[in-house]
């Protein structure tokens, strides 16, 4: 693929992306969210058409214009959400659409089962191929998807975050399969957020940033720091330097301990988190995607049950088993997914804003409308929410204003600890500044904030302290003033036993 351009409704998604995959190599594709990885893959597999640029496959100019043509040409994609049929057998999933026939009509099941068994055996998997696919683990299902690709003579297998739901031993099996594909001359395009894996399995790596491919290198001789700095568009030598300077951190004065999480774990995505939030403090959670940021928030808000460890609030052991219990304890959580888990689209600004407050607004079973309006009007003015009026449906508001309404929803219940997951995502610059000011104002009253953001600038500027997460563990802590993005990146890259 070379010089691929793609724009959606005038928004440029790809601007000169090139990718070259050799026969029989495992090629990594990395980049932050929104860098253009998915768009590039979708062009390769015929889901989208490129506006400009050329795709060559197997030595010839290729005109793949549908996923079906891509499949016929030998390009197979293993998606995160597997597109298999869990209620049918393993064999059926492998041969579906290409069943061996007897007399040209009847499916030859013996032959089909044998074929399925044989392919899986090549991967070192011995399972009952007549059993329903859904009865096996995600890992096996993923391998079946790969087996299907192989049985269709795939020349290029694209794997999108294949390890995101696998445990350590399953990852090993998957890697074994990937190697056997490579040895058989099949190329693999491997997309993953887990950089450590790439060193183990990949031959070359292409880095994307802002719709462009910025770098293509051999994995030998690349450092993790180099990969991260490429993804973020920063100079790796500056980062290395930042890591060298003795970083003592500020001595900001904060109040008593509000929340303390001691060694908490909820599952494979969050294995060990230690963090403390003081009154009057914004604590950032820094980490790459998949580092356990959101899982940490979910644990603190009682959504995911704790497998181990304890959380204490104001020095007392807190049992936060449900969101309702967390709210009662004075914790509020602004979710990352505003559309699905935040707003109630058909409700008005007023109704959305007071939902969490209803118990306190209700007298004798009846909502005190006068007080409700007063509170809503107060927040609309205080937060500068731009709306045609409090009776406007919230879906008609801009993203930034929706977010302000959701912030107001939580501020209204007067929590002591506010957890904000990507509070300024999809919000314009002006609204972003305003939201950050609201957060600062909130902590100045002696409350605490846990701030999660994938934008390092926001963390570095907004947080008093940053707890750095890597692969589900809190690995270090940085204190402001003095944190720079370079320092944060260095901390992220610096994992156990590896001096970057």
């Amino acid at each position: 693929m070379s010089a691929i351009q793609k724009a959606f409704n005038g928004v440029v998604a790809l601007d000169g992306a090139s990718l070259e995959i050799e026969k029989g190599e495992v090629h990594a594709l990395i980049g932050q969210n929104g860098a253009g990885k998915s768009t590039l893959i979708k062009i390769l597999t015929g889901v989208y058409r490129s506006d400009d640029g050329a795709v060559e496959f197997d030595g010839a100019e290729s005109l793949i214009s549908s996923p079906r043509e891509a499949q016929a040409a030998g390009i197979a994609t293993i998606y995160q959400e597997l597109n298999l049929v869990p209620l049918r057998s393993v064999t059926e999933n492998i041969v579906m659409g290409y069943e061996p026939k007897k007399l040209g009509v009847f499916i030859d099941w013996d032959e089909a089962h044998n074929r399925a068994r044989e392919i899986l055996k090549r991967f070192g998997i011995d399972i009952d191929v007549t059993a329903r696919l859904g009865s096996f683990s995600t890992a096996i299902q993923q391998l079946v998807a790969i087996a299907r690709a192989v049985s269709l003579d795939a020349k290029l297998v694209i794997m999108d975050e294949p390890t995101s739901s696998l445990d350590v031993s399953e990852v090993k099996v998957l890697f074994g399969v990937v190697r056997s594909l490579r040895d058989a001359g099949v190329s693999v395009l491997y997309v993953s957020h887990f950089l450590d894996e790439l060193f183990e399995i990949c031959d070359r790596v292409t880095t994307m940033r802002d719709g462009r491919t910025v770098d293509c290198r051999k994995m030998d001789g690349v450092t993790k720091l180099g990969l991260i700095s490429g993804m973020l568009g920063r100079d790796s030598s500056e980062i290395a330097e930042a890591g060298m300077t003795e970083f003592s951190g500020g001595a900001a004065k904060h109040g008593e301990v509000l929340l303390h999480a001691d060694n908490i774990a909820t599952g494979p995505r969050l294995t060990k988190l230690d963090m403390t939030v003081h009154r009057g403090e914004i604590v950032g959670l820094g980490g790459l995607l998949g580092s356990g940021r959101t899982e940490a928030a979910r644990a603190l808000f009682g959504i995911d049950p704790l497998a181990s460890g304890t959380v204490s609030l104001k020095g007392l052991d807190a049992r936060l088993e449900t969101p309702a219990a967390a709210i009662k304890a004075g914790i509020a959580f602004l979710t990352e997914d505003r559309k699905a888990e935040g707003i109630i689209p058909d409700m008005t600004v007023r109704e959305n804003l007071t939902l969490a407050l209803l118990p306190k607004l209700t007298r004798n079973g009846q909502i005190d409308r006068a007080r409700e309006r007063e509170i809503v009007q107060g927040f609309i003015e205080a937060l500068g929410i731009k709306t045609a009026g409090m009776e406007q449906p919230i879906r008609e508001l801009s993203g930034g204003n929706q977010q302000k309404v959701l912030l107001a929803r939580w501020l209204a219940v007067e929590p002591e600890l506010l957890i904000l997951d990507e509070p300024t995502r999809g919000v314009d610059v002006g609204a972003k500044r305003e939201i950050q000011a609201i957060i600062r104002d909130f902590v100045s009253k002696g409350f605490g904030v846990v701030l999660i953001s994938s934008e390092f600038e926001e963390l570095v500027e907004g947080a008093d302290r940053i707890v750095v997460l890597n692969e589900g563990r809190s690995i270090t802590e940085l204190k402001n003033p003095g944190i720079t993005e370079d320092i944060l990146v260095h901390a992220l890259a610096h994992t156990d036993g590896e001096a970057a």
């Binding site: 409700m347 939902l355 209803l358 909502i367």
Partner: protein
């Protein structure tokens, strides 16, 4: 403080644009009937129309709460049949005993639905389908598959046969009071708003710490209780418990709710518009009966159903048009 704004017509329409269609259709049908038939606006027609349709109004309103949470209750027809038998057995003790017991019986089925759906996590469609079959069988078992005559000596038949101050039937008065109460509940209480929030986004509601399970239990209990009341009116109005009645009532109720502009996916709905939807469906039959009475044409009961279906479709189409125009306006603003 008295809140006048909530019942202001303009604010009502702006909050429920999807229900404009049903009001216009209802007004048009009533105007048509008044102009074409002599006795259409007469006291006899109005009172017997309301008496008969009170059952469907209360079932539809109960159903609308379930649908507003994003659920469905298919059991209401069988539950009404079951409770009509219960009410008939209880009729010798008078309406003041028979009514609460029948309503409680209805709520028992509602509670069963709630248990299946909330505790066992069975989808509402399946759970209430099971209850529908169970209640139907139960009605046949306790009645011996026969109608159960009520005690004409007690005051039980007053409910479905007599009028308050000789003006309106008892049935519609009781239903009217409950419906106004439920309207108030939906518009003015936190319970009502939680109902709509759950239908709008159950995930968001849980994350806000709203009492999602309790509210869902409430709507199924309410729907069961409403079906129970409909059973009482049925037994009282026809003088007998009717184990074989109620077939297809759940579909009529769903139709009334949908015509009234409540989204089947939940989150948006209105009690008055649901009542209007139920009235509209009833009026189509009423008008066709008058049309037969004129003697110009004769339409069989089967054709009446076909015509009602066509009419329903036209209203829904109209509603979709209104909605899409309204959305376009919203985008410009």
């Amino acid at each position: 403080m008295l809140d006048t704004n909530a019942f202001d017509l303009r604010s009502y329409i702006s909050r429920n644009p999807q229900s404009i269609a049903v009001w216009i259709a209802l007004a048009a049908l009533i105007t048509f009937g008044l102009l074409r038939y002599d006795n259409f606006g007469g006291a006899y027609n109005i009172s017997s129309f309301l008496n008969y349709n009170s059952m469907f109004i209360i079932i539809s309103v109960g159903m609308s709460f379930v649908i507003m949470t994003g659920g469905i209750d298919l059991s209401v027809g069988s539950v009404a049949a079951f409770t009509s038998v219960v009410a008939a057995y209880m009729s010798p003790y008078g309406i003041e005993i028979a009514l609460p017991i029948a309503v409680l019986a209805g709520m028992l089925f509602g509670g069963l639905n709630a248990f299946f759906i909330i505790a066992l996590r069975i989808p509402p469609f399946i759970a209430t389908l099971a209850t529908m079959l169970g209640a139907k069988g139960g009605a046949l078992v306790i009645s011996g598959a026969d109608t159960i005559a009520v005690d004409w000596g007690s005051n039980f038949t007053k409910m479905g046969m007599e009028k308050v101050f000789n003006i309106l039937p008892w049935s519609i008065v009781v239903v009217g009071i409950i419906v106004v109460g439920l309207w108030f509940l939906l518009e003015k209480t936190s319970l009502g708003r939680t109902v709509l929030a759950i239908g709008g986004s159950e995930d968001a509601s849980t994350l806000m710490g709203l009492k999602v399970n309790r509210t869902k239990a409430f709507v199924y209990l309410l729907s069961g209780g409403c079906a129970g009341l409909a059973g009482v009116i049925l037994a009282s109005g026809f003088g007998a418990g009717q184990p074989l009645e109620g077939i297809g009532w759940e579909l009529s109720a769903i139709a009334a709710v949908v015509v009234g502009g409540t989204l089947l996916t939940g989150g948006l709905g209105s009690v008055p518009a649901t009542v209007a939807g139920a009235l509209l469906l009833g009026l189509v039959f009423n008008i066709l009966n008058f049309e037969n009475g004129l003697g110009t044409i004769s339409i069989s009961a089967y054709w009446q159903m076909v015509i009602r279906g066509g009419f329903l479709f036209a209203v829904i189409l109209f509603q979709a048009r209104v909605m899409s125009r309204n959305k376009r306006k919203g985008r410009v603003a």
